[in-house]
């Protein structure tokens, strides 16, 4: 396959950055998108250029490190996958592919396609935990049975990999789906209910402080989420937040 790549190049956080056009040949449909970028970078380096920086690590869709806004969509045109699981068979010979970093004020660019997503960590510091010491001296794991439906729903929410596709896809750069996933996971489990009030208030307050936008329920986040985290979680967080506000 022969492709035209339009890639965002930016030397560092201070640099203004711009889209740059490149040509690449010899891409095979079996390659993953990131392997295509590997080949592209090798080619670029052999010509004396500086490779395009992009985040990636596990390359099996679970670490949440890879990002990329490909042809106008977070993690590209395929559904239920991260960029590392996107394969070139989704594209055609002669295609033009636009590759940009995840864009949000809360995700400043580090270099080229690499962004800083520490805002997510800071939201978790505000309340993404259950305050139990790790002494191991807790009650037996089977002491509190958990309704299977609740356990499954909590699991579904917990599958969030923190990649930031929700923020990148949202026209408002809202982080509601990310925060809602964590709030939901704990709200559904008996262990998490004890601190539910403070958790949701603190996490939402940190989310707002980070400069994410507001949710307007477009649902783009749910569609682009590689783990298919449902909008139901946002509704649940809204409920949790309202009831916490009444109590608090």
């Amino acid at each position: 396959m022969k492709l035209t790549l339009k890639i965002w190049r930016q030397k560092n956080a201070q640099d203004k950055g711009a889209m740059v056009d490149y040509q690449i040949d010899g891409i095979e449909p079996d390659m993953s998108f990131l392997e295509m970028l590997d080949v592209f970078n090798e080619d670029l380096m052999s010509k004396g250029g500086e490779p395009v920086a992009f985040d990636h690590d596990c390359r099996e869709g679970i670490c949440g490190m890879c990002s990329l806004f490909i042809n106008g969509e977070a993690h590209g045109p395929d559904r239920g996958v991260t960029t590392c699981q996107l394969h070139m068979r989704m594209f055609k010979d002669g295609d033009t592919i636009t590759i940009e970093p995840f864009r949000a004020a809360a995700f400043p660019v580090v270099k080229d396609l690499v962004v800083n997503r520490s805002a997510f960590d800071r939201i978790q510091h505000a309340g993404g935990f259950i305050s139990v010491n790790t002494s191991g001296n807790t009650i037996d794991a089977n002491a509190i049975p958990i309704n299977k439906q609740d356990a499954d729903d909590a699991f579904d929410a917990a599958t969030c990999i923190g990649c930031g596709a929700c923020v990148a896809s949202c026209k408002n750069s809202s982080a509601m789906l990310f925060v809602a996933a964590k709030v939901s996971q704990y709200a559904l489990l008996p262990q998490g209910k004890i601190e539910a009030t403070d958790r949701v208030l603190n996490m939402v307050s940190q989310m707002d402080a980070e400069g994410f936008g507001n949710c307007s329920n477009t649902g783009a986040c749910e569609v682009e989420c590689p783990k298919g985290i449902s909008l139901e979680n946002i509704a649940r967080m809204n409920r949790e937040y309202l009831s916490a506000s009444m109590k608090g």
Partner: protein, 221 residues
């Protein structure tokens, strides 16, 4: 949590937006039913209009709440829009929004602005003259004037056209707004599908009902 902090939070704003929206939809529905009577009986329309225009509860309690609701809804709409734009200072070179969301959901601000402009026209047409009539000039009560005033306004094809166009935009606004407002207040369960379907019906029936009324009077008188 302090009230001020509550209103600063993104979720509180979103819920307030939703609640004011739901309130406005209720208002819209009752307005629609009253207007619809004008198609069937000028007398009924006149008597309901007279009641609404002179009942102290409606005039001095519900009407101010409605005005505050409208102002709140659009002011908050602008505030949120500005915040949301600031949340992404550099926009994408290529953004395929259609792949993951509906046009109506992404363009609430535009459909909203058109509806707001229409509201200006509507106030100019009906509400200001009404206020002047009742409270400035203190004209005598006339229980039969409402129907004629209505018909008179729809004589102009330009106004009828503008009126219809605005309601198409309102339909688009409601298409997303109805179910969105319920999601915002935390309503998402097994009834959500039916509610969404009802919302789509609402978004069609009410605005196009208004358009029907306008066209009816335009062509029948």
């Amino acid at each position: 949590m302090a009230k001020s902090a509550l209103l600063k939070s993104s979720i509180a704003k979103k819920v307030a937006m939703a609640l004011s929206g739901i309130f406005l939809m209720l208002f819209l529905a009752q307005h629609f039913f009253i207007n619809m009577t004008s198609v069937f009986s000028s007398d009924t329309f006149n008597s309901i209009s007279h009641f609404m225009g002179n009942n102290p509860l409606v005039q001095f309690v519900i009407q101010p709440i409605l005005i505050v609701g409208v102002i709140f809804h659009f002011t908050m709409g602008f505030v949120l829009e500005i915040q949301n734009r600031n949340a992404r200072p550099i926009s994408y070179a290529k953004n395929n929004g259609a792949a993951n969301s509906s046009w109506t959901s992404r363009n609430m601000i535009y459909s909203g602005v058109v509806v707001l402009a229409f509201l200006g026209l509507h106030f100019y047409d009906f509400w200001f003259p009404e206020m002047v009539y009742k409270y400035v000039e203190v004209s005598p009560l006339d229980e039969t004037r409402y129907f004629h005033e209505l018909v008179a306004k729809f004589e102009s094809p330009v106004r009828t056209g503008l009126y219809s166009l605005s309601f198409i935009l309102l339909a688009l606004h409601l298409w997303h707004g109805f179910s969105s407002s319920f999601q915002s207040v935390g309503f998402n369960n097994k009834y959500s599908r039916s509610l969404k379907a009802f919302g789509y019906a609402f978004a069609i029936v009410i605005p196009f009902g208004f358009i029907f009324i306008a066209l009816f009077h335009h062509f029948n008188h």
